[in-house]
Amino acid sequence: MKTFKFPRITFWGVVATTLILLGVGAAIARFTLGLGATTNLSDEFPWGLWIGFDFLGIGLAAAGFTIVAAVHLFHARQYEPIVRPAILTAFIGYLLVVLVLVIDLGRPDHFWHPLVMWNPHSVMFEITWCVILYTTVLSAEFAPIVLEKFNLHAPIKWIHSVSLPLMILGVLLSTLHQSSFGSLYLIVPNRLHPLWYTPLLPILFFISCIASGVSMVILETLVLSRKGRTLLPAALRANLAKITAVALAVYLVVRFQDMFSRHALGELKHLTYHSAAFYFEIIVGFVIPFILLLSHRIRNSRRGLYVTTLMVLAGFAANRMNTAITGLESYPTHTYFPSLLEVLIMTGIAAIGFTAFTLIARYLPIFPDMPQPEPDEHPFSSLSPAVEGE
């Protein structure tokens, strides 16, 4: 703490800084010039890239509640080492989503209105409350990590005493929140393409967020376990891969069964703008990773898991973007493509997320049980067992 070292200038540091600066510039332009001048949103496409980005952020944040549930509610203690990275991912994910939502709102100065002006019939109302409450829960789950760093044990004790209801609340809120993003589109049966519209949207959104959330955790353990340290034993990682495979399989069964019963499979006979998007999403993001994950070798190989989890995440992104954008387009007359400023704001915010994760992981005890690469930078490491042993 005493000697704050300036981060070394690295390639990724430069990239992230550039993206953040561009994003801030774009955000300033958006607030001074308005949505019309800076985005490609229109009366035909009132929602665009940013809503898709919200879906992604929330979906990846599913890492948080799945792992917390597994470790603290189902007592799968072996996964303890990844609880904190998962909570951190979720916390950052939610904060970024709140940021995007505020930028996306036409009247950001009114963002607090849903707190006092209620319309419980609105899915948007439910979503707003889930975001607010779950972000609060996540900050309570995250707070001990900060408090620990500053050696404040009294508040930690206090938070621990309410941790069980807090965690149950967190799991419930994210379940509701993940699925309610799907519910948003229940009200547009006339506009959303039949390849994506189904009354089961909330359920499908929930199942796929488990696949993407767990994939995100696997990916994180792979990335973070690089420099000679292992976050999670390979066998446990392989187990997570199995869970992903199960979620993918359940998803495929429910999705195709539903499409069959709604007679939507006919839409796939011809290669069209929409069916091409559907094929990409399903084959790259669900079918191939599922088949790959059936193999014992892939589940136990770092490179195999890198490839498959990235595919799952790509398919997940495609699914959300297709629901939010492609499915509402009618090619070729009625399409939407984001403006440069929309993209810059999104990449800027993503860069903020990565930078925040890296910095927090460096300065706070996110990985308490690992051999520390630079011991002098982590004076708190000796404290962690005392707090962990609750």
Partner: protein, 255 residues
């Protein structure tokens, strides 16, 4: 107040003179000039389909999708018919635009404090007991103002009096649960760009079905999760007990 007001638009009578739009612009102090589509400055517009003219405007649904979608209740259905918007509440999420089955609300994209704009069914005139400006201006009676119940009876009478002239349907009578703008047409409605597949159920039911499950998820979910925690916790305690017992006996064996 009291009685629900409505408009009956008889497409067979419309000559495409655009007097409704002109009157609306005067009434609502919107910029002048003929417009072919709905916009911030045109709350109603005509489209032409093979010599037939169709008026587009907010349908003032009985159970409006936009009202149910708005998270802050900035949109509201009045008892006498109009669906009105309150810009002081609006947060600008644009869910109403996404949700409206008729694609009505227009957004002030150019503004830095934007809101939505749409037909207000001349609510201030209704309050004074006057018909809407567009109905008053219509030279042929193609747009007629009145109590919704009376207009439904009149529409049925027109169809039965001259079945050759009309298709046997009043668009808006039951579509999406009924609207305060009713249409009569000489040709099937889908030929005029009407969406006839919206169904008779009010669209808000679609999301309310999902929202009504929320209390269940919370109730059943919390009990279930707490139960799982209890069971696995107990199992862990037992395992720990047995583990330490085993260790003890190991020690004894070794010792």
């Amino acid at each position: 107040m009291g009685q629900k007001k409505a408009l009956l638009i008889d497409i067979t009578l419309c000559v495409g003179c655009n007097a409704c739009q002109a009157a609306c612009k005067v009434e609502n102090k919107l910029p002048e000039g003929e417009e072919k589509a709905l916009s911030l400055s045109a709350f109603t517009a005509l489209s032409e389909h093979d010599g037939l003219f169709v008026r587009h405007m907010c349908q003032h649904c009985d159970i409006p999708t936009c009202v149910s979608a708005c998270p802050v209740g900035a949109l509201e259905k009045r008892a006498d018919g109009p669906v009105l918007y309150d810009g002081d509440k609006c947060i600008g999420c644009r869910y109403c635009m996404q949700a409206c089955p008729f694609h009505i609300p227009r957004y002030e994209w150019k503004s830095t404090r934007p809101g939505i704009k749409k037909c207000i069914l001349c609510a201030p005139r209704l309050a004074k007991g006057l018909p809407t400006a567009c109905a008053e201006a219509c030279p042929t009676g193609a747009t007629k103002f009145g109590d919704r119940n009376d207009l439904l009876i009149e529409a049925t009478n027109r169809i039965t009096a001259d079945p050759g002239k009309y298709v046997a349907k009043i668009y808006g009578k039951t579509d999406v649960g009924g609207t305060s703008v009713l249409y009569l047409s000489p040709v099937p409605f889908e030929k005029l760009g009407f969406d006839t597949r919206l169904g008779q159920e009010p669209m808000p039911l679609l999301s309310m079905n999902a929202l009504s499950k929320v209390p269940n998820v919370v109730g059943v979910g919390s009990v279930m999760l707490a139960g799982i925690w209890w069971i696995t916790n107990r199992r862990e305690d037992v395992a720990r007990e047995e583990g330490s017992r085993k260790q003890d006996s190991n020690h004894e064996n070794r010792g």
